[in-house]
Symmetry: C2
Subunit: 438 residues, 2 copies
């Protein structure tokens, strides 16, 4: 659950809150630059933003986890090698083209790193590259090399907002979360899956801290905290070829309490993960599924994912329709296919605190139906409005509130739990990914 | 692939073709009746159709396969028991309510069987029940018992069309496929997933034959033929709690060539499976994925399913957008998560006969992009038209043609193959499952 339950009346109120979260940890500078180019695979010019995150001094304390997609992008392949390097000095991020399975993709990424390193006076192998955008196209290396120097004058050490905005070309709003601890801070930014341009699909997350945590601890912690956060969300079940979560410490502030640090890191990751879902493509309801009393955490998480990925249930939620038969269908589908004999005789289901199902039988009546409908409407982020041109678009560009559709699945067969977040399936999702604006 | 490649200029042409397929095998009668009732869980009256399939004489030669959903409907539980009975005399099918996890669901199904048996002069345990419709509601047993006698005068032995229509309340059109062999025939009907009423999700298939094939052979054949047909399709990845495929022989016509019978049965199943996809909820493109040179057939089928279930790729197809990056994403996602080390270095991809990807690299250019767009447009069943009320609906109630989006995935690591059929993800799908008509 988010550390806070926020509501925002408009975009300005949301932006003021983002600014209150945006102060950079000590030892970092960020900046970005935007330029136009012509992709070799398409006839029309496009725009790209290059974002730099630079450390004042190279650090040994960094960690990263990458997509499990078996056809990862070139920056992911390069990034995995960077984990073996002694030091990290900077991250260079581009949007618009994800550099996945393009000819000479790794060479292109390394060229961008080399030029970044020359400009910053560091080694190329201490620069981590990231790309997001069209899968299949190649990076416009020459144009990027020409554009890079313009980012340098923008580097500043006050706010992470330019980086949060620089990586977010298609999201509806930038995402920043922070945790303050013992004179230092942990500040994270995320690019979610807002696909107004119907070709993008990547989650990029960068978490900066000035708290001194050794590399091995950082890497072990990141592995642990991504499981209940970023690995417990799903917008649409599709796994990007470029997903990256990077955690970088400037190690300028002593950190005596690693447990408190990990708790703060977990909270920042949890908050950012929830932000990513709330700003997911076409998402009008965030669905939170708490699976309890499962035989183990993996089973609980997989069942939760099966529910938030079940298209018919997602459509019902989009329509504020408490079609709980589809919820039971989704559970039975998953357990029938992957449950390995999981026992369902003690299954109990609640939605919005209302009991739906127990002892193998539905507990439904017209009054409950009404209350469930009200719970769904209260969790709606915005109403869907039929557009005159047939192309649905999100009605708000800020998160109006942090309420969720709350589903509790009690398996009654063990003591393991997991919570999974997902979104509904809406016309806005289809429009973002199928419809064109002429 | 379908045995035929049909095109229909309008609904009448389609109906004339259906009639040409509809002659009943010897030894069967079918009929149906429709009535109104008030569900106990809802305030408004609803309509239900009861369909009977009766054998002139009880048969020992019948087979059925049922859903793998771990929370199956009561008729599925009863149906599994019926497989242990010596004889089958009839099938009684209702729509509107699926009788899943409702209080006393099995007792309700048995009561319907008993009354059907009394009317036909057979034993209750020789009657197979089937239900499709709302999950969570209970059967209106009293109303059904009262309505059943009215079906009897409608029983006739000429055409299966009344049964094909009786089980199909929400599909856009009935589905019938036949295969003639050695003086006998195999005739199948299917109810697909047309969800104009936003609560239904079931595939029911009944295949009747007069060719004499012993029970054990029938059951073994059915198990084999459902794998490449009904178990190789997916509209939306959701598995109904009621799916049923029943195969019944009156054994009136001697059958000396079981191999030819199984080939005919496989063809009928393949054709019906393709019909179900083509008439899937909101489907505007049928996607056929042929996976070749896989290490084994299960791996090939799972990879094909992962492609036709990938939401972003499905949306791109809906928009006639040859976004092949999303195709590669879907393959990489599946192999990364479930591939067990499957090697992708020899992966080759074609769409509409056009090479897209080989040796780890995309093969794209603006001319190919244009040709791929033309392939997608040629496979479109109807164009999506933005409605004035925001509720998208299918534009045709017959299958205009049998063309597919043709994808070939060559893994180059073995000699096993599988072909999987799916549909795109459209506004019409979301409307059928989320939007209400006032």
């Amino acid at each position: 659950m988010a550390s806070t339950t926020l509501t925002f009346s408009n975009r300005d109120a949301h932006r003021a809150w983002l600014l209150s979260q945006a102060k950079l940890p000590a030892g970092f500078r960020v900046g970005s630059t935007r330029f136009e180019f012509v992709p070799r695979e398409a006839p029309k010019p496009a725009k790209m933003t290059l974002t730099l995150i630079a450390l004042d001094k190279p650090t040994e304390d960094f960690a990263a986890v990458f997509t499990r997609n078996a056809l990862p992008g070139a920056p992911v392949l390069v990034g995995r090698r960077r984990l073996g390097e002694k030091q990290l000095s900077a991250v260079v991020i581009n949007n618009k083209i994800s550099n996945v399975c393009a000819p000479d993709g790794e060479t292109a990424s390394e060229q961008i790193c080399l030029r970044t390193a020359e400009l910053l006076g560091v080694t190329a192998k201490s620069v981590l590259p990231s790309s997001t955008g069209v899968i299949g196209w190649g990076l416009p290396v020459a144009a990027m090399l020409s554009a890079l120097p313009a980012a340098l004058p923008h580097l500043q050490s006050q706010t992470i907002l330019p980086a949060a905005e620089g990586i977010v070309t298609t999201d509806l709003y930038p995402k920043i979360r922070r945790f303050d601890l013992a004179g230092g801070s942990i500040v994270g930014i995320a690019k979610g899956a807002g696909m107004i341009e119907p070709n993008l699909a990547t989650m990029l997350v960068y978490i900066l801290t000035d708290l001194a945590v050794p590399r091995d601890e950082l890497r072990a912690m990141l592995k642990r905290v991504v499981e209940p956060s970023f690995n417990s969300i799903s917008i649409d079940s599709d796994t990007s070829t470029s997903d990256t979560v990077a955690l970088i410490s400037s190690s300028l502030v002593p950190c005596s309490d690693l447990t408190a640090f990990e708790a703060g890191l977990a909270q920042v990751c949890q908050d950012l993960a929830e932000d990513v879902v709330r700003n997911g493509e076409g998402v009008r309801h965030v669905i939170r599924v708490a699976v309890s009393n499962a035989p183990n955490a993996a089973t609980a998480r997989q069942l939760g994912k099966a529910i938030v990925n079940a298209p018919l249930f997602k459509c019902a939620v989009a329509g504020n329709d408490p079609n709980v038969g589809r919820l039971v269908q989704a559970i039975g589908k998953h357990v029938g296919a992957h449950g390995n004999g999981l026992e369902l005789s003690r299954l109990q289901l609640h939605m919005g605190g209302i009991e739906l199902f127990a002892h193998g039988i539905f507990k439904l009546d017209p009054l409950k139906e009404k209350a469930l409908g009200e719970h769904l409407r209260a969790a709606e982020l915005y109403q869907s409005v039929p557009p005159v041109d047939g192309v649905f678009a999100a009605a708000v560009d800020y998160p109006p509130h942090e309420r969720c559709v709350e589903i509790v699945v009690d398996l009654g067969v063990g003591d393991a739990n997991a919570t999974v977040l997902g979104g509904d399936l809406t016309h806005e999702y289809v429009s973002e990914n199928a419809d064109y604006r002429s």
